[in-house]
């Protein structure tokens, strides 16, 4: 009997990710921007990955996850991004005990059981955007810096400005007034990263995150957030090779576990 292929599809608010796994290895993946039509983007990526790998629908087991997981009607099952991330990070780091995931709209901290690798506790941000990718986006816009550059700019600073507002709207006006008062862009950028790290770290501390901690989600690519998170938590944190794919990988692995049982 040929081994079962599993597909994990993670429909985030900003990006849709899909991975194909076979025997616990990642065979192929895709990533695209989510649109208001979650289902269509998911379907397109799904069809594409099947075609490129010469597979038919009946040969794969599909597990959807993420914000739009319920819209994927072709999925065999679904799982929340919390469980998916917890499982996904163990693909990269089998010793992982905690996860911090910062996505576009959400941030979460997850604690993984030593015993069986399952989620034992988690915490999510509330509705407010502080401590999410959206916060960084708004601030980058206020500073007129491309979002991909704000992290490396922040690292140039050795005197981060103090951004005390936790609310995105207030923080934006704080940033603008710092700018008007002549503070350097790099210092403001550093201050912004520090503030987001502080907020996320305090959420993470609430559930008692511990090493080995894996940092996932779109924002994990930002080195400055990583650096400040490490400062706040006082231990080293790790980023997987494909931080954005963690959820999809986790979903596929859970699909595999499920079918093995």
């Amino acid at each position: 009997m040929s081994e079962l292929k599993c597909i994990g599809i993670d429909i985030g608010s900003l990006a849709t990710k899909i991975v194909l796994m076979s025997n616990g290895d990642m065979v192929d993946w895709r990533l695209n921007r989510s649109t208001y039509d979650f289902k269509r983007v998911g379907r397109d990526l799904f069809d594409d990955i099947l075609t490129k790998n010469n597979l038919s629908r009946s040969e794969v087991y599909v597990m959807s996850t993420g914000y739009g997981r319920n819209t994927i009607d072709f999925a065999d099952d679904r799982i929340t991004e919390i469980s998916a991330h917890a499982r996904g990070v163990q693909f990269f780091y089998p010793e992982a005990r905690s996860v911090i995931d910062i996505g576009g709209q959400d941030s979460k901290a997850i604690l993984i059981s030593r015993k069986n690798g399952n989620v034992i506790d988690f915490q999510m941000n509330d509705k407010c955007a502080a401590g999410t990718g959206r916060f960084l986006e708004v601030m980058a816009h206020a500073l007129e810096i491309p979002i991909d550059e704000i992290g490396s700019l922040a690292l140039e600073s050795n005197k981060p400005a103090s951004i005390s507002s936790t609310c995105t709207v207030f923080a934006e006006s704080e940033v603008i007034s710092l700018f008007a008062q002549g503070s350097l862009k790099k210092d403001i950028a550093a201050g912004i990263h520090k503030s987001i790290a502080k907020r996320v770290a305090s959420m993470a501390k609430r559930i008692g995150v511990e090493p080995l901690l894996v940092f996932t989600g779109g924002v994990a690519k930002n080195i400055a957030v990583k650096k400040y998170l490490e400062k706040e938590l006082d231990f080293e944190i790790f980023q997987p090779e494909y931080p954005q794919l963690t959820g999809a990988i986790g979903a596929a692995l859970i699909a595999k576990d499920k079918n093995a049982n």
């Binding site: 507002s165 609310c167 006006s173 704080e174 007034s177 502080k198 501390k205």
Partner: protein
């Protein structure tokens, strides 16, 4: 005396108050370890019973290590607490500073030092798990207990109408196992006073058990007498000096003095006698300066009541108002009727008198409903004869902050003075917005 020494001589009292606030940690260590006194935390100005029991009341931020301005340290080592003698050593030290601005600089530094610490402890409260949806005051206080609560022997709680406050108090036993409760009946009906008197007696017995001391009527009366004198001085500053056309110092500094008094009034800097002395000197010094014409003519500056501030406030606001040409008054304890004197006489029952004080504050000051609370704002604003009122709406405060829509209506109908609201979340959080609001507000004058 030259102007030079004049300035140092004046306001030593307030600087001493500031020093005693900031140097609390060492003082409390001495009390706890050398004198074997019990440390009991208090918040809001409810320290009388603790003093009467011979224990040391502590507003918990005072257990922290503060950075103390070098001038304050020098002043403290140079002055004799009782005699207030200046030494030449201090004088030579002082030459290093811009003497005329010493008070402004040092007090500004003190207020910022305290507030930086407050912010730090607020963050600690959040880290400990207090939801950021709660008021700054409760979150900061929780941080104080997380940080140094283990040094306390007990904590005394008074139930007030703020349910967040009462529930917060309930959680304090995780830091300080020994909790004393004074349950204040929500309103004064029938024999509520008698019931409260009994609750106060119960709290006194708890204190006796913790300290091993007997709390006699005399010890209570002695404490009330000291408290009453302090209250009289406090009122002199609020009603006489703050209303004067000539201020003994720059109005922003005057506001800072009021802010410092508001903070330190909660535990009298852990030493009632010393606090009384500083207060009495402060009043004397202010009066002398006014009489001698040392200070500033403020007759054309509108007087603004900024309230409430005890749940946390933006300390830049009095600076902003000053720059906009106004002077700021902080008078929360008066609004909440916590500056009322406690009657002391041979035949009175001090426990009952204290209960009367609590019940009066609850029903008339803090108010069992918004009607009563807003009435008390109006009465105080009237009595202080202020020209405007700025309401400090503390984010997450569901008790006091919720009264603003009613208060605004009453101000319009009964006082006809300008009013505005500023939002407060955390110190430094939205100074820009405060600036804009206060700017627009000042244009109303």
């Amino acid at each position: 005396m030259s102007i030079f020494t004049e300035d140092i001589v004046n306001f030593r009292s307030v600087l001493q108050l500031a020093y005693n606030f900031l140097a609390g940690r060492d003082y409390l260590k001495k009390k706890k370890f050398q004198e074997r006194k019990k440390l009991i935390s208090v918040a809001l100005p409810f320290s009388d019973l603790v003093f009467a029991s011979g224990a040391v009341p502590v507003f918990p931020i005072r257990m922290e290590q503060f950075k103390v301005h070098s001038y304050l340290t020098a002043l403290n080592s140079a002055t004799n607490l009782i005699g207030w003698n200046l030494t030449t050593k201090l004088l030579s030290f002082v030459r290093k500073f811009d003497v005329l601005k010493i008070l402004d600089t040092v007090l500004d530094d003190v207020i910022h030092t305290i507030n930086d610490k407050y912010n730090e402890l607020y963050d600690l409260g959040i880290d400990h798990g207090i939801s950021s949806d709660f008021c700054y005051g409760i979150t900061g206080l929780t941080g104080m207990f997380v940080s140094k609560g283990k040094n306390l022997d007990a904590n005394i709680n008074f139930t007030i109408r703020c349910s967040a406050w009462n529930k917060y108090s309930e959680t304090l036993k995780q830091f300080v196992p020994r909790q004393i409760w004074v349950d204040i009946p929500p309103r004064n009906i029938d024999n509520a006073l008698e019931l409260l008197t009994d609750n106060v007696s119960q709290a006194i017995s708890d204190l006796e058990e913790i300290t091993g001391n007997i709390v006699s009527d005399n010890s209570l009366n002695k404490q009330f007498r000291i408290g009453n004198q302090i209250k009289r001085f406090y009122k002199t500053i609020l009603y006489e000096f703050s209303a004067s056309d000539f201020y003994p110092c720059n109005p922003a500094t005057f506001s800072e003095i009021l802010a410092l008094l508001g903070l330190s009034y909660q535990d009298y800097n852990s030493d009632n006698q010393r606090y009384l002395e500083s207060f009495s000197y402060l009043v004397k010094e202010m009066r002398e300066r006014i009489n001698k014409g040392i200070g500033m003519d403020v007759s054309d500056m509108p007087r603004i009541l900024l309230t409430p501030v005890f749940g946390g406030w933006e300390p830049e606001s009095h600076e902003i108002l000053y720059e906009l040409g106004a002077r700021t008054i902080y008078a929360d304890w008066e609004i909440l009727n916590l500056l009322e004197e406690i009657s002391v006489s041979k035949n009175s029952n001090p426990v009952e008198e204290y209960a009367k004080f609590l019940l009066n504050a609850t029903t008339r000051g803090i108010g069992y409903d918004q009607e009563a609370l807003t009435d008390s704002y109006i009465e105080t604003a009237k009595a202080l004869n202020v020209d405007g009122l700025v309401f400090n709406q503390v984010f997450g405060c569901h008790s006091i902050s919720n009264c603003y829509s009613l208060l605004r209506r009453k101000i319009r109908n009964k006082l006809e003075i300008p009013t505005t609201v500023i939002n407060f979340n955390k110190i430094g959080d939205n100074v820009e917005q405060v600036k804009t609001r206060l700017g627009a507000f000042m244009e109303m004058f």
